[in-house]
């Protein structure tokens, strides 16, 4: 029972990471740095609460959250694909934009600087861990990993995606429209990461200021630790979530200070990048401003 509870809790915590991480894999495999994941998630969470609160219910929340995520991703694509702006700067700016905008509209919509009123979400809160199993997003989050793996490794789109991320010039000479593939990949990543935020907001039945609390960066860490592969990134998400679960369950015992448990994903990512155990090598064209004409 304890083991089952641990596993269930781990999956619950992992779902937002899973959504954002597979989104991150798609974006980075196309050659675009996924620094905006945190912003896409937070935007999705805010959209979910607005959609749910203003009469759409949980499904209206999902729809609104995805719309916000895709809109933000479109802004990102516009800046870095169309205008070839620096991806790192635009990613950071979008995160700042979403933090500011959600705060602004939180005040405007609900007259609160900290959180929204309660929304229905899926099922009642406080019914224990099992209530999460009734949340379709939980299952979708788990499914997103094999689906993305299939998309990346087994479909023509996936082949184009990888070609564009590794060698855009070669891809273009084969008639692949590089800007289009990249834009599509980023829009997908925006929708997926937003779903992670939607799940978070509906689980907590509210939006609160900066509620994603760095989860987009943990997802990015999972992408890198998973070496830009959907399945491995998924495993990394579960690993990071298990550490967090362990920390929550050991809180009363307090063997290791919580701050050190919180560091685990970040330390592992740096270790992976430093090549202590098998170097993590990013897609060749990652972060390079597009050189091909659009």
């Amino acid at each position: 029972m304890i083991v089952l509870g641990f596993l269930l809790q781990t999956v619950r915590i992992a779902v937002p990471f899973l959504f954002a991480a597979v989104g991150g894999v798609l974006s980075e495999r196309s050659g675009l740095v996924a620094l905006g994941l945190e912003g896409f998630m937070l935007g999705g969470a805010f959209g979910a609460v607005i959609g749910d609160f203003y009469g759409g219910g949980a499904w209206g929340g999902i729809a609104a959250g995805v719309v916000v995520g895709v809109a933000l991703a479109a802004l990102y694509a516009l800046c870095v694909v169309r205008f070839r702006a620096d991806q790192v700067i635009v990613g950071i700016a979008i995160n700042l934009l979403v933090i500011g905008a959600t705060r602004f509209f939180l005040l405007l919509a609900f007259d609160s600087a900290s959180n929204s009123p309660r929304v229905a979400g899926f099922g009642e809160a406080g019914r224990g861990l099992l209530s999460s199993l009734g949340n379709p997003l939980l299952w979708l989050g788990i499914l997103a990993v094999p689906l993305t793996a299939w998309l990346v490794h087994r479909t023509p789109f996936g082949l184009r995606l990888r070609a564009v991320g590794e060698h855009p010039e070669a891809a273009e000479s084969l008639g692949i429209r590089v800007p289009r593939v990249r834009t599509l990949a980023v829009l997908l990543s925006g929708a997926l990461a937003a779903l992670g935020g939607v799940y978070l907001a509906l689980e907590q039945h509210q939006f609160s200021d900066q509620m994603t609390a760095g989860r987009g960066f943990i997802a990015l860490a999972a992408v890198i630790f998973g070496r830009w592969d959907p399945a491995r990134a998924g495993v990394a998400c579960l690993l990071f979530a298990a550490a967090e679960t362990l920390e929550i369950q050991l809180q009363t015992v307090s063997v290791v200070p919580s701050q050190f448990v919180a560091m685990i994903p970040y330390v592992l990512t740096i270790v992976a990048l430093a090549g202590v155990v098998g170097r993590a090598v990013p897609p060749a064209a990652l972060g390079k401003t597009a050189t091909v004409a659009d």
Partner: protein, 366 residues
């Protein structure tokens, strides 16, 4: 024939200067215009008259001594973090870690201030604590620098991850060993406090502006001298423009990367002096408050030039303080949106303007 080239040269020189000016000034102007438009929309969404709100914003910042003092205080930290990011970018390195380097600097400055006996004269205590701030930032910058130089680990990811690690570590140390009960800050330092600007100019009374601003201006000048007047600075810029060419020219690229990151971290760390020694006289969890990330915006808008950084720091500080000035009528969060809009607009217009200029007169510029 010679007359023809003479004419061509004369017509080339003027456009070259003009091009430089356009490249420096067009992006910020476009950004400010766009921010004004978005700001109008947000203000109208709240149901207020935009003109009046902007007047309020100016009156609350540059319109009175207290507001101006607060602007100067906020700008001081931003000068340091902006310089930190700018030096990194000049070397071709993107330092996203200014936030945690700033925190580490402030923390070490506070530690030194706490360790020194209460009676230590400022002439000794302040330089020591300031040096500690630089060392704290440099230590945090050494990790991405060494990893980049040694194994080529991408500094953007390393500094992002390190932000979380360093901040968590500092939070742990303060929470577990150093905090004043019921608070998130250390006890007040015994020695090393920097005088407030109000002590010299009474009109600034109440504002947090302090003499760290003089350090900021001095350091900005020093960075300009280093980058543009020394051999090491030349190497640094060469590595930033063309690492392969610099390597071929005999520059140890790895060493330059490490050095640039140490300098960048130290600059960000020095920003801690402004808050810890100049304002609160203690280290507080979260005191960096995003100034490290805004440093990226400051360097970007300031075009990685010390003078530009100082001006951009004043601009972003005005927005921050202006948010407080208008909060009674429009949520201050509006300025957070506007800051992001400015960054996006500059990020988009810089390459665009460069391309336009290049397109209009062939590929003459390097």
């Amino acid at each position: 024939m010679s007359r023809a080239t003479g004419v061509r040269r004369a017509s080339l020189l003027a456009p070259r200067t003009r091009a430089l000016l356009e490249e420096a000034l067009v992006p910020p102007l476009v950004a400010i215009l766009l921010a004004l438009v978005i700001g109008d929309l947000l203000i109208l969404a709240v149901g207020q008259p935009p003109g009046q709100v902007y007047r309020l914003l100016l009156a609350g910042t540059w319109g009175n001594a207290y507001g101006l003092g607060q602007v100067l205080f906020k700008a001081t930290t931003l000068v340091f973090t902006g310089l930190a990011v700018a030096v990194g970018l000049r070397a071709g390195l993107f330092n996203i870690g200014a936030e945690s380097q700033l925190a580490a600097g402030g923390f070490l400055a506070a530690l030194v201030g706490l360790a020194l006996p209460a009676g230590t004269p400022g002439l000794i205590a302040i330089p020591l604590a300031t040096l500690a701030a630089a060392l704290g930032g440099a230590a945090a910058g050494a990790v991405p620098g060494a990893l980049k130089a040694r194994v080529g680990a991408h500094e953007v990811i390393v500094t992002i991850m390190l932000n979380f690690i360093v901040l968590a570590l500092l939070n742990y140390i303060v929470a577990a060993h150093l905090h004043v009960p019921e608070t998130l800050h250390t006890p007040e330092i015994h020695a090393g406090g920097v005088a407030r600007l109000a002590d010299l100019i009474p009109a600034f009374h109440g504002s947090a502006a302090n003499l760290a601003i003089l350090v900021a201006i001095g350091v900005a000048a020093l960075v300009g001298w280093y980058l543009f007047r020394t051999r090491a600075g030349y190497d640094l810029r060469a590595v930033g423009l063309q690492p392969a060419a610099a390597e071929y020219g005999g520059v140890d690229v790895g060493r330059v990367w490490l050095r640039a990151f140490l300098i960048s971290g130290a600059l960000a760390g020095l920003g801690g002096v402004n808050f810890v020694l100049g304002y609160k006289r203690y280290y507080e969890e979260g005191f960096a408050g995003g100034a490290g990330f805004l440093g990226i915006a400051v360097a970007l808008v300031g075009r990685n030039h010390p003078l530009g950084v100082v001006l951009a720091a004043l601009f972003f500080a005005t927005l921050s303080q202006g948010g407080l000035a208008i909060h009674a009528v429009v949520p201050k969060q509006m300025v957070e949106v506007l800051q992001a809009v400015v960054i996006l607009a500059v990020a988009v217009t810089v390459p665009e303007v460069r391309r336009l200029l290049r397109g209009s007169r062939g590929r003459t510029d390097a």
